[in-house]
């Protein structure tokens, strides 16, 4: 295992200490239980809180700050955080207007956030949680765990954060979050596996000429394995199911998010963006906003995920609103 870490047990805590040292102006890191809040919490608004396993940096801690999250709860690597982390984080940042928990749809995350929500409600803090489940690689059905939450999470955190900053109510912000989730679809692929520090070897083995199609963000294998294709062919495998799922229609204004999984350099992400943009234009979509970079990672996994969000004037305005976090900044 080749990583810039000390001992596997300390990865999450030491990375948090690094964030704390790097961004004292933006963040405050709390330990035992671990959670991150803004350096100066703002209580006269709806608090937007998220969390999940570590190993996806900059998500979620890198999105804490003005115009985005009020708090983030990092679990162990690829393991959802515990209810007491979310309870502590919520109590630390939520005011009378309550808190929205943005939850990625994974069994563990859902159960832990549910338990946390119960604990918080017991304290009479108004709280809503919204599930993000945008991954079209997983077929949706009531008798399974359903679709995973992936790229749409970043977009929902930015947009809901802006709405909360603008004074919207808890009901409004959570309805907005549902709308973002409902209008977003994603799909990812991996060229390599990744190594969970405390395991020490790759989660799966992938031959030199093969790739995993339909991976999530926890190093899990994808829906299927295929021979590697040129980038253009790979992008088509990701974009087609996204387009047909919502479905997106000619004339739609969309935000195109090309995400890197951690080990893929930016030069490749732009080659992916190129083809994705060409395909969307062919389909008659208007890409009015975009995001290119590694914002939801699976440790050092090489690969990419594409997320498409159908925009409207409100979502666009909220996407454009000022944001000041370690990982996303604009307008300030």
């Amino acid at each position: 295992m080749k990583k810039l870490i000390n001992s596997p047990e300390d990865v999450v805590t030491e990375a948090l200490q690094g964030m704390e040292l790097a961004h004292p102006d933006l963040l405050k890191v709390h330990y035992h239980p671990h959670f991150i809040t803004r350096a100066v919490p703002v209580k006269n608004k709806v608090a937007v809180i998220s969390g999940g396993g570590s190993g996806h940096e900059p998500m979620h801690g890198g999105f804490v700050g003005r115009g985005m999250l009020d708090a983030a709860c990092p679990g162990a690597v690829f393991t959802s955080p515990t209810p007491d982390q979310m309870e502590a984080a919520t109590k630390a940042v939520a005011g009378e207007k309550g808190a929205l928990l943005i939850v990625k749809n994974y069994t563990g995350d859902v159960m832990n956030f549910d338990l946390a929500a119960e604990l918080v409600r017991a304290e009479n803090i108004p709280i809503e949680s919204v599930l993000i489940n945008d991954d079209v690689a997983v077929e949706d059905s009531t008798w399974t765990a359903g679709r995973r939450g992936v790229g749409a999470t970043v977009l929902a955190e930015k947009i809901c954060g802006a709405a909360a900053e603008a004074g919207q109510s808890l009901a409004e912000v959570s309805a907005l979050c549902q709308r973002v989730n409902g209008q977003a679809r994603s799909m990812g692929m991996a060229l390599t596996s990744c190594t969970v520090p405390h395991i020490g070897k790759p989660t799966f083995d992938l031959p030199a000429d093969e790739m995993e199609i339909g991976v999530g963000i926890h190093g899990e294998p994808g829906r299927r394995r295929a021979k590697i294709l040129p980038a253009d062919g790979i992008v088509e495998l990701l974009v087609d199911p996204i387009l047909s799922d919502l479905p997106f229609k000619s004339g739609d204004e969309v935000l195109l998010f090309v995400n890197g999984l951690g080990g893929t350099p930016l030069i490749e992400l732009y080659i992916v963006y190129r083809r994705a943009a060409q395909l969307l234009q062919k389909a008659g979509l208007k890409i009015t906003r975009n995001l290119v970079g590694s914002y939801i990672t699976s440790l050092e996994m090489a690969g990419t995920a594409i997320t498409l969000l159908k925009l409207d004037s409100e979502l666009t305005r909220l996407w454009d609103a000022p944001v000041l976090t370690p990982a996303l900044r604009k307008g300030v």
């Binding site: 690829f78 069994t107 563990g108 159960m111």
Partner: protein, 209 residues
């Protein structure tokens, strides 16, 4: 007929702090095949935290031992297994309220309540390739048959659990991360089913002393 004492339960829970670290890699590997490779680490982290919490409760009521185990697992594990096993012990506590001893039927009532809690939380049914596939038949097998001993019943439950864990191999996962793999989940043993069997083995060992 012999009963289960607070001492048995405490020994069981303390033993788990050895059992799960010892099976950490095995459970991680099973989870790596159809999940995210952390089930062993999650179980080891969770149960390793238990013994220190039990010191204050030595010889105390069984429901307290269960409740402490529940809250510890919930606050230390995370993932799916944390809330699930946490709920198992939380719900198992109620019927043991104030008790220092449980007859086998009483004990079965506790564990059945725990399983009901897991099902209520996780909504899994037998055949979904989860821990429920093991706990359901194994806890049924734990109920006393005419005139068998406590250890006899426990041995029956453990055998049933081991078989049920193996029986998850050919199944297609419908719950948890493994469900994301669809067809690819077939042919692998479910990690949570395996940890449930280990949990019952530990119980047998603790009662046998």
């Amino acid at each position: 007929m012999d009963a289960i004492s607070s001492t048995h339960i405490e020994r069981w829970l303390r033993d788990c702090a050895n059992v799960f670290p010892a099976h950490k890699d095995e459970l991680n590997e099973l989870d790596a095949a159809i999940g995210d490779g952390d089930h062993g680490a999650n179980m080891a982290r969770g149960f390793a935290a238990i013994p220190s919490k039990l010191d204050a409760l030595a010889g105390k009521e069984i429901d307290g031992l269960f409740r402490t185990t529940a809250t510890t697992l919930i606050s230390v594990v995370g993932g799916a297994s944390g809330p699930l096993y946490g709920t198992f012990f939380l719900k198992a506590a109620a019927p043991a309220k104030g008790k220092l001893k449980l007859t086998l039927p009483e004990f079965c009532t506790c564990l059945d309540a725990g399983l009901a809690g897991i099902v209520g939380l996780g909504k899994a049914v037998v055949g979904d390739k989860t821990m429920v596939d093991v706990l359901t038949p194994a806890l049924a097998a734990l109920h006393p048959k005419n005139g068998d001993s406590l250890t006899g019943a426990l041995e029956r439950a453990v055998t049933t659990a081991r078989e049920a864990a193996e029986a998850t191999i050919p199944l297609l996962a419908r719950k948890g991360r493994a469900s994301y793999l669809g067809e690819r989940s077939i042919g692998h043993k479910d990690p949570g089913a395996t940890s449930s069997a280990l949990l019952l083995e530990a119980l047998l060992g603790a009662v046998q002393g």
